[in-house]
Structures are given as C-alpha cells and as structure tokens.
Symmetry: C2
Subunit: 316 residues, 2 copies
Amino acid sequence: MLRLGVDVGGTFIKAGVVDESCTIVHKVSVPTGGDAGFDTSVQHIAHAAELAAQEAGLQVNDLASVGIGIPGLLNPKTGVVVSAPNLSGWQNVPFRDAIQKLLPVPVYVGNDANCAVVGETLAGAAKGYDNVVMLTLGTGVGGGIVADGKLFVGGQGLGAELGHMALQMDGAVCGCGMKGCIEAYCSVTSLVKQTLRAMEADPSSAMHGYAKEAGLVDGRTAFECSKMGDRAAVEVVEHYCRYLANAIGSLVTAFRPDVVLIGGGLSNQREYLMDKLNALLPRYVFASDLIGVPPIRRATLGNDAGTIGAAFLDRV
Amino acid sequence: MLRLGVDVGGTFIKAGVVDESCTIVHKVSVPTGGDAGFDTSVQHIAHAAELAAQEAGLQVNDLASVGIGIPGLLNPKTGVVVSAPNLSGWQNVPFRDAIQKLLPVPVYVGNDANCAVVGETLAGAAKGYDNVVMLTLGTGVGGGIVADGKLFVGGQGLGAELGHMALQMDGAVCGCGMKGCIEAYCSVTSLVKQTLRAMEADPSSAMHGYAKEAGLVDGRTAFECSKMGDRAAVEVVEHYCRYLANAIGSLVTAFRPDVVLIGGGLSNQREYLMDKLNALLPRYVFASDLIGVPPIRRATLGNDAGTIGAAFLDRV
C-alpha cells in the first residue's frame, strides 16, 4: 500500500509517495505560498499532494492516506493548528478539516519535528528502537519522542515542545519570549550568537578569516575552526556542547530512550559533535553510574525524515 | 474485587486492602527492617501483605493482586530494583521474583512516586483527568506522570525521574551528585537550606523566634513567617516559588497535563502555596498566551495515595 507524506516548510512543501518499506518512490517540491494566507497555503498543500501522486502515475485516491507535517503547534486529534509562526494567518485554524475537504483519502496531521522522529524510528538511525528522543537543531530546537513504539505528544497533542524546556533559570532570552529554554542555548541561532561574541572578544581568532572566506558566520564557523585548534573556537564549541549534553541528559532522565538522535544542519558535524556529546552525557543523566546512558547518534534521513514520518502518522 | 496495595518506605511498610471504588477498607503498618538486608525486608513486605489481609478477615488468596510501591529506581516490567537508597542491600535485586515466591496472587511493582500519581488520578485530586503531572516535595522531589490515562515511566520503566531534570545548568549540587536538578532547588531539604542562609544573613528576621519556639528549622519556617510579613521569609518563599514554578512550567511544556498536583509535606501550605504557583506558572510555560496553562492543585490523599496507587498498578 502506498501512502503520501507531506512536509510543510515556511518556503517549500515537499510531498512524497512512500511505500510500505518507507522508501520515497517519488517526491515533489512546490512553494508554500505561506504569505498568501491560510486558504491559499491549504490549496498549495493539496496541490502538492495531487502533483506527487500524478507524477508517480497515480491519483490521490490510489493512496491509503495522506499525512502532513506542519511547522507549528497543533492538536493532532482535532487537527487544529494553534500557531505556525512561519505561515501567515495560521492561528487557531481548523487545518485538517480544511485540507480533508480537498483530498479524497484520510488525512492525518502532526508537528514537523514529531514527523521527523517517526521517520527516523521507522526507517532511519533509530530503526528497531521503541524509545527514541530526537532533537532537530536549526533556527530553533525541535523535539520529538517515541515512547514504547508510539509517538508521544502529551495532552491535547500540544506537549513534547522539548526546545522550550528549562535549562537555565532566568537565563538567556529565547525566541519564544521565555528565558533559559534549551533552544536559547542549543539552537544554531544561539551557536551563531555565541560565535559572534567570541569573535568580537578575540580579534586574533581564526574564525575571522574563516568567516570572511565563507562570506558569513554560521553554525560551521566555530566547529570548523575548533577542528583546526583555534582556541576561541574550541571554547565556543566546548561551551555549546556542554549545554547541549545537559539538555539531552535532562531528557534522558525523563524519557529513558534507547537512543538519542540529533538532526538538523549541525548534525553534519557528525562524529566530531557526537563523540563530544557521548563523552559528556553520563555526567548529566540521573543514575548513569547504575543504569548507563543511551548512545547519541546523527539522524540519517535528512529532509526525508519528515516526509516519511508524515506518511506513517496514522500508524504511530 | 479487592486488591492489596503496599507502600514501602524507609522506616515503615504500609499495606492496605483496597476495594473497586479505591477505598482502603483496612490498613496496617509494620517496620521495614530496611537495615537488615534485602531478604529480610522482602519477608517483612510479604508479612505486611498477609497481615493486612488477615485483619480484614481475608487471606491473600482472596485478593485479585498485590501491588507494591518501592522508594527507588526500578524496572516495573522485569521487577528488578536498580537502587533504593533508603533500603540496605537493595542494588540490582530481582525484587518482584523474590516477593512473588512468597505470595499466591500476581504481584506488580512500581516506584513510590509513580504509585502516588496513580492513586491521585484514580481517587484523589486528579480524578477524572487523563493527563497528570505530580511532584512530591519532601527530602527529595519525586515525580509521576499519567499520560492518556496510562502511567508514563519511560524506557525500561526507568524514566520520569522528574526531580533530576535540569533547572539550572551548573547550579546547586544535588543529592544525586549532579548539579542544578529540580530537586536541588525545590525539595524541602533545599528550602530548609535556603531558610537557614536567609536567617544567617538577617539576625532580625522573625524566623529566628519561630524556629526557636518550634524547636527546629523545617519547611514551615519560611512559609509561616512569610505569612506574618517577615521580609527575609517573604524573600525565601518568593525565590523558592519561582524556581518551583519554572520547574513545573518546563514539565507542562513537555507533558501538557490537564492538571498538576503537588504532594508531600509542603502541600500543607495549601492555597498560600498553590495561589503563588498558579500566578507564576504562565510565564514559564511555552505558548501559554495561546493555549493557557493547567491548574496546580494540592494532592488530597496524603499517604494513602501510594497505597491506593500500588493496588491499581496492574490497571494503568
């Protein structure tokens, strides 16, 4: 049986026809039209679904279901999107009802970070595990939890906002308006801020030359210069990793996953990042001397995780 | 059908015969004998169960099951207790297998704080709710979660150690050896430390006279003197409540419960504590302006919560 998975981003909608083995057999990408308001972007999403089916030689009717991941806060049971900051006019909108009217097969909806952990658990780095925590490190920090083989979303499906759990009481201001959230320390946005501060404090740092050549300061700047032994860069990376390891440790203490996955652009730092995090983790996990800690691994499906996970939202 | 619930503490074992309506029809209390090693305390637990049945005019055989709450880290599926700091010799012991040999009906085991949230959800302050987070504030901070009507214990049943989640990176040293845990700020032990510090800093504080009369400094000292308007006591209470509200906010962000319960001795501060926490909570919960916050309430079953919850471990 084929399914359709749709990953709605602020700029593009990616839709893929996914088979039972979690392979994307065909995928398309169309503009979200997020600025054009709710009704228009809903039409774009339906269009993306139809296009993906069509190009795979099918009709939407031929598919078992359509699953859709949304970058925002939503209740998967009612299908109401409470807030999706990157999509204009998406506040308290009955998204599933609206899109279901345009599509002839059952529609399921979920948060995009939740779709990613489902995809990685079914077909990626956490395949075969029943308990998984995934953090997607990007502009923000997205979180997803699989517990006992089921997606864990909390009451009304509005929980599991792991990036906004506490890491530092009265700490750095977060994009959400609160202080000291995990996201305020562990997002790439925060890493870049920390990098810029370190560069300002040390004009002799190799990060200046690296950034000039690259044309920008981004999540790579400190990491790449740390690999070259630049002292200021090493400090930025060590500091960042300690906060991230503490955040992961706190989540392990709560959820006791079999494996922790790191997704998002920063996961391209691969073993350089994972080795540091795995070395730090035991000191931040309750009773790690007695019960050990799970491994931290890089998510492997990249952007496809969200599409595959969305396709299987009905199953988890 | 009657069940037996057993709440094992460091000093006493409380065993109660519980009916279908979650009423304890008879209860007994016997010494734990926790210093005498694992085998002896297991015998004491079996004896407590037999005694409670006997005094209710029954035999253990007449009961549907025996549920046992243990103050420690354990895997409810395997029945292995990894660690129970207040019970001597209880490290990596096959507790359920051992006690099952002594009792003729099915035995279920769980963590004591988890039993408490089950009891309160079935018969106490969270009755009728499907999603509940409970913190028991005492020497430490115990945590329990009911999600979608089921007890949530994390992978291998070793999660939900809410007292050891992060609240302050590199913060106060916790009894567990880590730094900045919720317990290091929100336990009564920590409140007493904060009270003593404030007393030392302000010899004119009314807390000195209050403690002298009471014969000790305990969790009540700052709260009672705060009610009388003592400036130093007010500061201790405000500081304590801010940390506790931030901890609760972080848990709400993760679990989105319908209600949050506070148990343990400090919950005797009733509305004085709950009103402060409820007023502070919105600033510590993600998207509280859009989706509100759950109420924080006092647990109502006291010590019986653990006994009742243990009796129904098989059901949740």
